[in-house]
């Protein structure tokens, strides 16, 4: 069921909320209070929060309001309530990592949390996630499953399950997640919000739970392209604590969103692999979005993708993730294996069986395969358009396979169109484009050249002007 939002100030976009606070048209306390009231109503239905910092958030809001009253120049996110996946570290605060085997409270502060703090954002709480970020469905035996706000019988996807659900339900204006195989884009897609996995190296992973240093990418959830642009502008950039981060200057993303026209832009539709196995309902939504982009002046072109390699990117990504995850989890698994759920226990240990030369070769192949992909695809188009998830959003029951033999198959279906871009390191943005017959959202995914986040956001911003998908909100029961 969908409707235009009636969520009051909690339903405003992040950009509008930030602007209204800065102009003192609304107080930070009003924003925080509105979000807390919604969390109270929605949490029993969707279980998207792990912890709610009501007292701390209200105190922070009062400080933010007092600073404005005293004439302080506000930061770009001054007084805006956000909430993040429970794996971004703050000194002295235990992050559950979605597990009952979580480590003690860290002493480090996540670089991304520090940048959001400095921009004036308020942290409302921590969000549900798959155990150790290993799971694309949103199931969590320890914290309880996060549920889809459009229909709680359906999955919220994962691993950043709480991010998509929280932002869609208007419980916070934006969220940090992590994306190692689709873990931001999939929850965003099934919740009807935008989810960005930036280029590998665009955002710092310092102070974020590691799963795979070769594939982990911090990501962002928001309800509009402009909101994502604001958040990205704040958190992106070189970090001396993370050698993976790029020294490339950070663009003023909100300033380059454009006027909504896409004349001259070439939107590529892959001729093979990515459109195979896509359901008729999702195909209809994808094709309608392509017609909308054409209406904005874009040229839609069929493009080849590297034929041999495309079918293998996901599996190559798995080689990296499982080998590195086994190295990270090895010591904990030796001591506390039974504190892991059956599925995550097996997945975290899969690297024990992957020969070291195979891991090294999967890493060594990556630059060459990236170059092949970029030269093949982006010589013919500016952005690639493909599904985020090629099937209607499944139910919790349909995907509750634990550690059984069918687990690999279920996971493969979900990450088919997302994991390739973790292996290739390319930026990818999931954009809502309608609903399937079960009433749940469908999305397209835009993929660009390395560091082309601004272009992806520009296309999404133009598309939003023609459609109202991102303005629709799930309806509260009762």
């Amino acid at each position: 069921m969908s409707s235009r939002t009636d969520a009051g100030v909690a339903g405003w976009s992040l950009a509008d909320a930030a602007q209204a606070v800065a102009a003192r048209q609304v107080s930070a306390r009003e924003l925080v209070t509105a979000c807390l009231q919604r969390i109270e109503r929605w949490q029993p239905r969707i279980n998207s929060f792990v912890a709610v910092f009501a007292h701390g958030a209200l105190a922070a809001a009062d400080r933010a309001d007092a600073e404005l009253a005293a004439g302080r120049t506000p930061g770009p996110l001054h007084g805006v309530p956000l909430a993040h996946k429970d794996m971004f570290y703050r000194p002295g605060r235990v992050s559950t990592l979605g597990s009952r085997a979580a480590p003690p409270a860290p002493t480090t502060l996540s670089t991304l949390l520090r940048r959001l703090d400095e921009a004036g954002a308020i942290e409302l709480g921590t969000l549900n996630m798959a155990e150790f970020a290993l799971g694309p469905t949103g199931h969590n035996e320890f914290l309880g499953h996060c549920r889809n706000p459009w229909n709680p019988a359906h999955i919220a996807c994962g691993s950043s399950s709480g991010g998509g659900a929280t932002v869609a339900a208007r419980l916070a204006y934006g969220s940090l997640g992590s994306d190692t195989g689709g873990s931001v884009r999939l929850p965003a897609s099934v919740s009807g919000v935008l989810g960005l996995k930036p280029t590998y190296g665009r955002l710092s992973g310092h102070g974020m739970m590691p799963l795979s240093h070769s594939a982990d990418t911090p990501g962002l959830f928001a309800r509009t392209a402009r909101d994502l642009a604001l958040l990205l502008r704040v958190v992106a950039g070189r970090d001396p604590f993370d050698a993976r981060t790029s020294r490339r200057p950070v663009p003023d993303y909100p300033a380059v969103l454009g006027d909504g026209g896409l004349r001259g832009l070439r939107v590529g539709v892959p001729r093979s692999y990515f459109r195979e196995g896509v359901s008729a309902e999702v195909t209809r939504a994808l094709d309608a979005s392509l017609r909308a982009l054409e209406g904005l002046g874009a040229e839609v072109v069929a493009v080849p993708v590297p034929a041999t390699s495309s079918a293998h990117y996901t599996e190559l990504s798995r080689v990296l993730v499982y080998a590195e995850a086994a190295a990270i989890h090895g010591p904990r698994l030796r001591e506390r294996a039974m504190d892991y759920s059956p599925q995550v226990r097996v997945r975290a240990a899969t690297g024990l069986g992957i020969p070291a030369p195979v891991y090294a070769q999967a890493l060594q192949l990556r630059p060459a395969l990236l170059e092949e992909f970029v030269q093949t695809v982006f010589a013919r188009c500016d952005v690639l358009h493909l599904p985020t998830l090629g099937i209607p959003v499944p139910t919790l029951e349909e995907t509750d396979v634990g550690g059984s033999a069918v687990m690999w198959e279920k996971i493969a279906v979900l990450v088919r169109c997302t994991a390739p871009f973790n292996y290739l390191g390319l930026p990818a943005l999931s954009v809502p484009c309608g609903f399937t017959d079960n009433g749940l959202p469908a999305s397209f995914q835009l993929v660009g050249r390395p560091f082309a986040e601004a272009m992806l956001l520009r296309v999404a911003a133009a598309y939003e002007q023609l459609t109202d998908w991102t303005r629709r909100a799930p309806v509260e029961e009762g």
Partner: protein
Amino acid sequence: MRAPIDAQAVLELARAQGHGWVDEEVARRIAAAASVAVNTVAAVLPPATAAELLGASPAEFRDTLERLAGDEA
């Protein structure tokens, strides 16, 4: 297609690494996934050029991304 990785070998390898919790069923699951991994890399890797493929570190991969970037807007 190469021969699948033997579950018994995985079991012994896991035990040798101190993972006494890995049983035959878990070893079968790991062996199935690891076999796919080995075959995937074999399918993509051109045998003669393996020694020429350099640049495997995260920072080197980021350098490749930077080199292939276009105009950001």
